[in-house]
């Protein structure tokens, strides 16, 4: 019965989404970056680094070689190929933001829509809990959690999620409140639907696009914060080729061999910008009014 359009899943809807995204050059550029990044991450992870030109962990005597045909992006202070290390770092920098944002959106969507729709005391409790989390500086909170869990990718995810979800709760609540004042919510209640059905079938589908767009723009922030955790020693651990960690490790060669610290940093920026560009396009692509022009 209800053709759910939480996400444009069926092929026709997906084609429309793609067509809208590709109608703008700048979104297309972002799309290329994001698809390239995700594909690289998945392939590298599945093949276990086998396709890379060099072993990203192997030392060599070619210390701090500048970029050349043999080493596209040069080598670092231990003679490791920078290009291979950047590619090998992609799975790290994809896994953490995707996991953190998935957890943050799930928690935020549930708590935010309930708070916004039901209101009253329930809302008070949920929003005060988010306030408690927001009262700590994000990085300090993440550091404290990561430190107590011990370093590593999984503990970074567990440390960043509590910092990230309150934003999504507030966003969901705000969107729910604005949707609640729409007449179709009243009409739905007038037709006899209960609160649970209305939240699941009328509130959630209307705010998912907003959350998705925000999350794509937020993607870069998660990578950056994760890099800071690595820098401070509680995130990814040496010798992982994670981009933030690589940047930090090579920092002292900024003037003598700039490719070693700067290229991993550029990778972070490119991916962050790519996601933000797609987010912008997605906002248009998920608007039913714009969709119908392309349908």
């Amino acid at each position: 019965m209800n053709r759910r359009r939480l996400l444009p899943f069926d092929t026709k809807e997906a084609r429309i989404t793609l067509r809208i995204l590709r109608s703008s050059k700048i979104t297309t550029a972002g799309l290329v970056i994001v698809v390239g990044f995700v594909a690289t991450a998945i392939i590298t992870w599945l093949t276990n680094d086998a396709l890379l030109p060099y072993n990203p962990y192997a030392f060599s005597s070619h210390l701090l070689y500048p970029p050349s045909l043999a080493h596209l992006f040069g080598t670092d202070n231990l003679g490791r190929d920078v290009f291979s290390r950047i590619i090998a770092g992609a799975p790290y920098d994809a896994e953490v933001p995707f996991a953190v944002l998935a957890i943050a959106i799930s928690l935020g969507l549930v708590s935010g829509t309930i708070a916004g729709y039901i209101g009253g005391r329930v809302e008070e409790v949920i929003m005060r809990v988010t306030d408690v989390f927001l009262a700590f500086p994000g990085l300090v909170l993440a550091l404290a959690i990561a430190d107590s869990l011990g370093p590593g990718i999984n503990s970074s995810i567990l440390a960043l999620s509590p910092v990230w979800w309150p934003t999504y709760t507030r966003l969901s609540r705000g969107e729910t409140l604005s949707i609640k004042s729409q007449q179709y919510m009243e009409a739905s209640r007038a037709s006899g639907q209960g609160a649970r059905y209305i939240i699941l079938h009328h509130v959630v589908p209307n705010i998912i696009p907003v959350l998705l767009v925000y999350a794509t723009i937020d993607f870069g922030n998660v990578i950056l914060t994760f890099s800071v955790l690595s820098f401070l020693g509680v995130g990814a651990q040496v010798p992982a080729p994670e981009w933030g960690l690589s940047t930090v490790q090579q920092e002292q060669y900024l003037t003598s061999a700039p490719w070693a610290p700067i290229l991993p940093a550029i990778a972070i920026v490119v991916v962050a910008v790519g996601f933000a560009l797609v987010g912008d396009g997605l906002r248009d692509a998920l608007d039913p009014k714009i969709r119908s022009l392309y349908g």
């Binding site: 019965m1 209800n2 053709r3 179709y184 009243e186 007038a190 006899g192 009328h202 209307n206």
Partner: protein
């Protein structure tokens, strides 16, 4: 309360209250609605007619709205005392409401077909309240063969089949509200509809649930004149085919004249006149009703200008003394300023709140 009474509103008093101010939106409203009866509620903006509609289906925003007094008996049950869950069970199939702005009354992310299916699904689920799933009749003729008794067999419809099973009825419902090419409209999104089409989709949505009472809040205000006539025709059809009672809220007496059995005229949150439709247009009893009637444009009258009622609806925070209409009334005399007129039966079946009509 007789069997013929569907809804009995008693002494309903509603205010909008905030820390700073209190607005008396409804004062002592008494109204009974019979089965299959169409009552038009007429008045200027701010007269409390929409508040009355929302109170009956209990969709008032509380706060700021507060029900200070009264009962709303629907089939003998006081709706004001029901829990939100029990109310949800009454809404839709018991009392339904359609709103003034049809385009914003439809959820923008679902197709027309999905939204009407949703309404059908509510009705079907309630048909067998103890079971959670959607159902279909095994033998549609069983109801007749059992002599009208509720001996109907049901089987569960698998989720995958639901769309197909309902879509026939959706097409039928769209056809009934005069939508051309229902198979295509089915797959449209609300923003692809015109205002008139959206209004008819709203009505179709209410119709498939077969409510015993439909509250229609200005259903003709946002649509053009030809659609307006169609909408009113649908209201009549709903009463005739499904036995629904209808509360038609409108500011337009001409609309009321076309469909209503009885007309309730409201002013500043009060009932000023309640009368059967035929006689109210022939001979209005309250000066306010008279004013409203005189302000309807009539093509066959060649006397120059339309008459307007002087002044504005009073500020509900600061109501005039005595009769609330007296500052605008051309018949007002001293008593109107000091004493508040009660609703009295001036003629059989006609009640009016005006000293001019008090029995001697």
């Amino acid at each position: 309360m007789s069997d013929q009474t569907l809804l009995d509103v008693r002494n309903l008093t509603v205010a909008y209250r905030s820390a700073a101010k209190s607005i008396k939106a409804l004062s002592n409203v008494n109204l009974t609605v019979g089965r299959s009866e169409i009552i038009a509620i007429v008045g200027e903006s701010g007269s409390g007619k929409s508040t009355l509609g929302l109170s009956i289906i209990n969709l008032l925003q509380k706060p700021p709205a507060v029900v200070d007094d009264g009962q709303i008996l629907f089939n003998g049950k006081d709706l004001l005392k029901l829990s939100e869950k029990d109310l949800a069970a009454v809404r839709g199939t018991g009392i339904s409401m359609i709103f003034q702005d049809p385009l914003s009354s439809l959820d923008p992310v679902y197709t027309v077909g999905a939204q009407i299916s949703e309404a059908i699904d509510i009705r079907e689920r309630r048909a067998v309240p103890q079971s959670p799933g959607p159902f279909k009749r095994v033998d549609p003729d069983l109801r007749q063969s059992a002599g009208g008794a509720e001996r109907v067999l049901w089987v569960r419809i698998p989720r995958s089949e639901k769309k197909k099973v309902y879509s026939d009825e959706v097409v039928e419902a769209l056809r009934r509200v005069q939508i051309a090419d229902p198979e295509r409209v089915l797959n449209r999104y609300p923003h692809q509809l015109s205002g008139g089409m959206a209004q008819r989709v709203m009505i179709a949505q209410a119709m498939v649930q077969r409510p015993s009472l439909l509250i229609a809040d200005e259903p003709t205000s946002a649509v053009d004149v030809t659609t307006q006539a169609q909408v009113l025709k649908l209201m009549r059809a709903m009463r005739k085919d499904q036995g629904s009672s209808i509360l038609l809220i409108t500011h337009d007496l001409a609309v009321a004249a076309q469909v209503a059995d009885r007309v309730l005229v409201m002013y500043a949150g009060e009932m000023v006149e309640l009368s059967d439709a035929a006689r109210i247009f022939e001979k209005p009893l309250h000066p306010y009703t008279e004013g409203l009637l005189k302000s309807i444009p009539r093509k066959y009258l060649d006397e120059g200008e339309l008459e307007a009622i002087p002044g504005d609806v009073p500020d509900l925070r600061d109501l005039p003394s005595g009769c609330r209409f007296h500052p605008r009334c051309k018949y007002a005399f001293d008593r109107c300023e000091v004493e508040h007129p009660e609703l009295v039966e001036a003629e059989p079946g006609r009640r009016v709140a005006c000293f001019l009509r008090y029995p001697a």
